[in-house]
Amino acid sequence: MRTRLFVIGAALLLVSAGARAQGPRSDDRGTGAPGSINDPQQDTPKQPASASLPEFGNLNRIDIGLRGTTYGDRSDQARFQRYRDMSDGGTLDAIRYFKDTNAFSLKLQGDHVGYEDQRFYGAYNNFGRVKASFEWLQVPLYYSGTTQSLYTTNNGKLSLPSGVQLALQNKTTTLANVVSTAPAFDMRVKRGNASANLVYNPAPDVDVRIMFLNQNRSGSQPLSGPFGFSAMPDEIAVPIQYNTTDFGTSVGYGSAKGFVKLAYEGSFFRNDLNAVTWANPLRAIDSATAGPANGSMSLAPDTDRNTVSASAGLNRLPGRTHLTGFLSYGVLSNNDTLIPWTVNTALAAPALPRTTADVTAHVTAMNFTATSRPLDQLFFNARYREYKYDNQTPLFISASSISYDYSVGGAVETEPLSYTRHTFDGDMTYSPFRHMGIRGGYTFAANDQPERWVPTTHENIGRASIDVTGFTYFSARAIYEYAKKTGDTIDAAEILAFGEQPKLGHYDVANRNRQRTSGVFTLTPFTAVSFTGTIGWLKDEYPASQFGLTNNENLTYSIGFDAVPIENHLTFGATYGRDKTDAAQGSRYAAHVNSGYPPTFFNPLADWWDDSSDLGHAVDVSADMLKVIPKTDVKLAYRYSHTDSSYVYSVRAGTVVPTTNVPLAPVHNELNRGTMDVMYHITSHLGAGMVYWYDSYSVNDFNMGPLPLAPGTAASPTMMMIGYNYRPYTANTFWGRLTYFW
């Protein structure tokens, strides 16, 4: 709070000082309009100044106002706000101050001042000597305003009211009865990022850079904790208090001939709570057979990452050749003190093999690129990339363990994961005409992941693309890619020993055939009008996978237009997009058994499949009319997004899968957003405006909707939920504002 007040005060002081130093500007500019980014070839003859002045993004202004939002009945106000703070009241919504001389520039910005999503930014540039900037950015995450919980939280320990546990344990009350009395609370997380950057040029070709970033996150978020394999999970609002501090510095020399740079980056993550303990609603007294009175779970550990790197490049070699190299070495570490096996005092926990995590990974990365253009029509490009993640953590082995704080389990042993990736890329581009490039390329990727079922994979990728740009009326880009990934799976007997199906493919390492194509097309029949279309298609097949993901296909396309009938004054456009993804996965039903294989484990009649489909539509329409009506700026926009996802099961004829196969309702999300922004320029320095936003969100999610997740209802008797779910909302926001320009 003190920091925010200080920054606001400093910014306002600088703004007022700058304002006194500035004379009034005579040009009357708008706040910038989204225009067509197509830049057709055109002459630039001398034009009257008033029509030819570009729209600079550095206009000084301060924007104050009054805002209020009305909600529809039972709207989810938290989801409407999600990453914003839309509280009612006065607003200082934007401050922009820019001072520009021939020696330096000074930029001060503030957004949403005084609200949870506020931002402050300052930058100073003494040209050719020093650049400094800082930013304070707050990003709220508003989960819910209607969550309920019986727990009280004290420094990572969540407790229940006295007597509740015993009453539930002794069945003198029910879960539904006690949960309905739980007090409501806001579940939020707040992220605050403070960053500062400095670039100092002791000489024209030398950069000394310092970077600092501190990210702080605090609040609570949903988490579940079970108390046994068949026991109910218990949803809690786990407190979080993270802090990540990043520091980086580099020294570099660069000229037209090349560059060299040395850098260091450090990142230090600290978690004030490395564990959470929460009371078991159904037990008040620890038991070695009936469960614990409390559960204990580790949270994100403190970690450090230190990396040094060197990079260099050579330009102006024969044949317009450029060489670039990058090499880095880093160490990741986590040496948190381990929490005990359990907090259940009735269980005889084994001794810990060690008291700290003692986790370390060494990371090496290198990247070498060579490009060459021996002829104007020919361009060559080659790259080699290597990444090695070497996990050097000693094994953590115990002859026995604890499960769910509930019972003593069998032996456990960690499996520190390491992997190495080698990638080689080569491309050749031929330009038969100045504005065309025809490219062919090849990539070979070899990945080693020794702890996975497919310890080594090789992938061969071929691609071809064509790019036609620079013509007045037309531009087009298209690419086609074919990739084949193969690898030898470990012995089937080993997989069976894990209790898994040998024909299961882990889709991130399984054999895969991939085809991908995409294209972007732009037609500009007139200077002021352009039409754009995009298309993309991706198909993945996993030929060796009988179970798991077997194929995945995505088809997306969009079409739209932009029109700029009057440059800097009238623009409008619309886009429609469609995105469909279909995936298929397979499995084989097998009931749990204590030893050996379940009866259906090897029976094809126990196979089942799930076909998922995800279809999204998006519409985007906008129109900006700046001073078309004298002294008035009008901005209109409408955005629509509609997505449906379905999951459909199927089984073989004669199936032995014990399912009724009742279909699941499709998951539906629809967002409508309409905005209107009108500003009347009373004078060249003062504008009065009105803003209106309409937002509506409808949702139907079969496992995140309000009905199944209502706390303590008959719909969820087996879980104690806090009521975080997906609910619809309708919101109308009205905003009156005054803007002062100078």
Binding site: A49, P222, F269, G313, I402, H506, G548, T556, Y597, P663
Partner: protein, 320 residues
């Protein structure tokens, strides 16, 4: 190091940095008027080299001349800028202008929307070839003949930073990357449409050492964990799919599913876990009606809560 306490060293350091930064800016601004260098006025012409100077160019191209003064290209104090070079800011990029002045023919001067993308880029890269641009050569956009002037404008920019032709970064990127831009409107999304992030928060359009032109780190995970450091690990107990690639389970551009997952749980988890017992169970409407704790809410993660990895001795199944 950096361990928070009641004194909170990190917050004090942040406050101190803000204080120093504002003071430096204020001192710099206060001293600005004392030694303001000469304006970057019209550079001297050099007839022998075919250079005519900025003043001659501005005779016909007044608005371009004015815009140059306001941009970093026009700040002669920085000896690296075009305005500090022979010919001044115009002819440093557009080439000698004498022939164009004599003939009035636009073909007699270098125009960036008339030459090939690579030729245009070579002009820009003669200066912009280090730091943020040091990986441009051979990058995805370079390989696809994307020109600097496709996105940037030296004269008619609309953005607050980076001299883009559009007001925002997203508007620039979505011209070609429509699918990713549309996904930001879905229910599971990063705060892009709220203005807290933009494409360049994660990606470097000028190339990088990372895959997918990600700005930070050397892998997808290293990029994601610059903000989500709590998922960084390494952990005592690791989940292979997580350790190797966040995008195995999450769609960072947007998703119809909670937590930006590529598919809903439990189906997502069942793409890799078949075995016996609850993993290969058919979770249909009947299971939902029975309020199965493997279906409702976070589904599998109701029990396997530490799904990104666990530091607990009892975390072998990520339930602690």
């Amino acid at each position: 190091m950096w361990k928070r306490s009641d004194g909170n060293p990190a917050r004090l350091l942040v406050t101190a940095l803000v204080l120093v930064g504002v003071m430096a800016i204020g001192v710099g601004a206060a001293n600005a008027g004392k030694s303001d260098p000469k304006p970057s006025g019209p550079a001297a012409s050099d007839p022998a080299a075919g250079l005519v100077g900025n003043e001659t160019c501005a005779t016909c191209h007044e608005s371009e001349g004015k815009s140059m003064e306001h941009s970093l290209h026009g700040k002669a104090q920085d000896s690296r800028t075009p305005s500090a070079k022979a010919g001044g800011s115009c002819e440093s990029c557009h080439g000698p202008g004498q022939k164009h002045v004599d003939s009035g023919n636009k073909a007699d001067i270098r125009r960036f929307n008339a030459i090939s993308a690579r030729e245009a880029n070579e002009t820009c890269l003669s200066c912009h070839n280090k730091n943020a641009h040091e990986q441009w050569q051979g990058s995805m956009h370079d390989a696809r003949n994307v020109s600097c002037v496709s996105c940037h404008s030296a004269h008619s920019y609309k953005s607050e930073k980076a001299q883009l032709k559009t007001v925002t970064v997203v508007q620039t990127c979505e011209t070609c990357h429509k699918q990713e831009a549309m996904k930001a409107q879905r229910s599971g999304h990063m705060p892009v449409r709220e203005g807290k992030m933009e494409c360049t928060t994660c990606h470097s359009p000028h190339g990088s050492t990372n895959v997918r032109m990600l700005k930070a780190g050397n892998t997808i995970n290293e990029a994601c964990t610059t903000c989500h450091a709590e998922k960084r690990g390494p952990y005592l107990w690791e989940h292979a799919a997580v350790t190797e690639n966040c995008a195995s389970c999450h769609d960072p551009h947007g998703s119809n599913n909670d937590r930006m997952l590529v598919a809903k749980t439990p189906m997502l988890c069942q793409r890799c876990h078949v075995s016996s017992g609850h993993p290969p169970t058919v979770y249909d409407g009947q299971q939902l009606a029975n309020a199965s704790n493997r279906m409702l809410g976070r589904s599998c993660v109701n029990c396997h809560a530490q799904i990104h990895g666990s530091n607990s001795p009892a975390g072998n199944r990520f339930i602690r």
